[in-house]
């Protein structure tokens, strides 16, 4: 429950809600609010809309900046209790507001997107008003952007739940208002979900609610605050993997019946000016070093948890050196499947040890991807990701077998 709420216009009902989760975003939330308001006014002026800032008791004046934005759309500010942070906690407060307002369509947009434009609101809301249940954006991405999605989350989610959602944890989404009942009723509400695991948690719940899912081609990259990819990698990785594995337990009866995968609907195909992806630098030596360093600590965990075939294979891979380095897709799929099962068999702190031990393997897998796609165009690299997903789907019988 939100510990604090300001609803100066006394809004009790809305057709469209735009939620902006924040933690100390005073510099960015104003522009985001204004862009959203322009989109709502321009494209959905005949509907009642409200913009909700779901905050974490920011101390930098986020609330004031939100209310100071030049905007004629009603606004509500909600916040978690002091000291309670995490995007998941913010969105839980948003879900409760959405339920109370009985909104038809909800959009979630992160506060620090600097190239956010009013059309984004149109692109995300329109499919919901046409009957789609959940929309994920399809941003223009460099082949080495969001590698956690390309190497783990996309192939895993796709092979489990049978739907090809390419950017399932993009950070932004839209959904029909009634879906908040599924979100608020989920049995999985862990620390991981309260933090970075929230995006994949929402997508997974939507997929399992069997609502029609659409991807919306945005025609542009998502330009937001430059983050050091290694700065919070271990905690983000742990949270996202933990959320995914927890949900696998909840939805096992469904995913065990799913064979192969199906496409989603696609919106935004009328986009005319498609921008180029932002450049991404990848340091192969650093990835290799992180793999080798992580190997030393993690190998003890693997020996306890994985069978000897996997451990033997990993030793072989380490001994290859950078020049011939490769973690084959079948091996990677098997590692993730085995890890998911082990995760459900052990308790804390072994779960955290297990997830942390996967991190160097993930970096090794990114290195494999970079080496394979070094000379490929973005499109060719995308085809390669698709072929890897097919391998995951082909390996799924192994997961079903061990899970039983």
């Amino acid at each position: 429950m939100a510990s604090y709420e300001e609803n100066p216009q006394g809004i009790t009902k809305a057709d469209i809600v735009v939620g902006i989760p924040t933690l100390n975003e005073a510099k960015t939330v104003g522009n985001t609010t204004e862009q959203c308001a322009r989109g709502l006014r321009e494209y959905f002026g005949n509907l009642n809309s409200v913009i909700v800032n779901c905050d974490n008791q920011s101390v930098d004046g986020t609330k004031d900046a939100f209310f100071a934005a030049r905007c004629d759309i009603p606004r509500i500010y909600v916040s978690t209790q002091p000291g309670e942070t995490g995007k998941g906690n913010n969105l839980r407060n948003l879900f409760e507001v959405v339920r109370r307002l009985e909104a038809q369509a909800v959009v979630v947009l992160e506060a620090d997107i600097s190239n956010l434009a009013p059309q984004w609101i149109k692109k995300l809301v329109e499919p919901i008003l046409k009957g789609i249940g959940y929309v994920t954006p399809l941003y223009v991405r460099h082949k080495y952007e969001a590698t956690l999605s390309s190497s783990v989350i996309y192939p895993l989610t796709r092979c489990l739940y049978g739907r090809r959602v390419r950017q399932p944890n993009a950070g932004d989404c839209a959904f029909k208002g009634s879906l908040v009942d599924a979100f608020l009723g989920s049995p999985v509400w862990t620390d991981a979900v309260r933090n970075s695991g929230i995006d994949i948690w929402m997508t997974t719940i939507a997929l399992n609610a069997r609502v029609p899912v659409s991807q919306c081609f945005m025609g542009t990259p998502k330009v937001h605050r430059v983050k050091d990819p290694y700065a919070h990698l271990s905690s983000i990785f742990r949270q996202i993997m933990s959320a995914s594995f927890d949900l696998m337990g909840v939805y096992a009866d469904f995913w065990r019946l799913v064979k192969w995968s199906k496409p989603t609907a696609l919106a935004g195909t009328d986009t005319e000016d498609v921008e180029s992806p932002l450049p991404v630098d990848v340091n192969m030596n650093r990835l290799y070093d992180r793999f080798v360093q992580g190997f030393e600590g993690a190998s003890r965990v693997w020996e306890k948890m994985f069978d000897q075939t996997v451990c033997h294979k990993l030793n072989e891979i380490r001994d290859m050196g950078l020049q011939h380095f490769s973690i084959p897709t079948q091996t990677w799929a098997r590692i993730l499947f085995d890890a998911a099962l082990i995760y459900h068999r052990v308790e804390e702190p072994q779960r955290t040890d297990l997830l942390d031990s996967l991190l160097p393997l993930y970096l090794g897998r990114v290195l494999t991807f970079v080496k394979k796609t070094e000379r490929m165009s973005v499109q060719q690299a995308e085809d390669y990701v698709e072929s890897e997903c097919t391998v995951f789907e082909e390996c799924k019988p192994h997961l079903i077998k061990i899970w039983e």
Binding site: L138, R210, F254, K262, L266, T269, Q379
Partner: protein, 121 residues
Amino acid sequence: MAKLLVVDDEEHIRLLYSEELKEVGYEVITAESGYKLLETIEEEKPDLVILDIKMVDYNGLDLLQDIRNRFYDLPVILSTAYDTFKEDMKSIAADFYVVKSFDLTELKKKIAMALETRLPT
């Protein structure tokens, strides 16, 4: 017996697909253009559509969007002479694609996979 709808403006492709797919046990109906395709699908209720991308009067990728918007889960296999279509985002709404060939092994494999891919309700 699964019912397949082959949409292609080339008669020899319609004949080839039709004969070979009937031989392996499918019921096959054909359409020579995208004209009233959604109505045809509504009436005939095929289990799968094999859709040519480049037809004289119709763009298969646009038809694919129409199909996906109205028949969300209907399997669609794109059939094409060129694989450059993948550069068009619209193609991701297809279940699979095959490059046209007189050897239908790949097409038959994809049909079987697409028909197998029924998500539990």
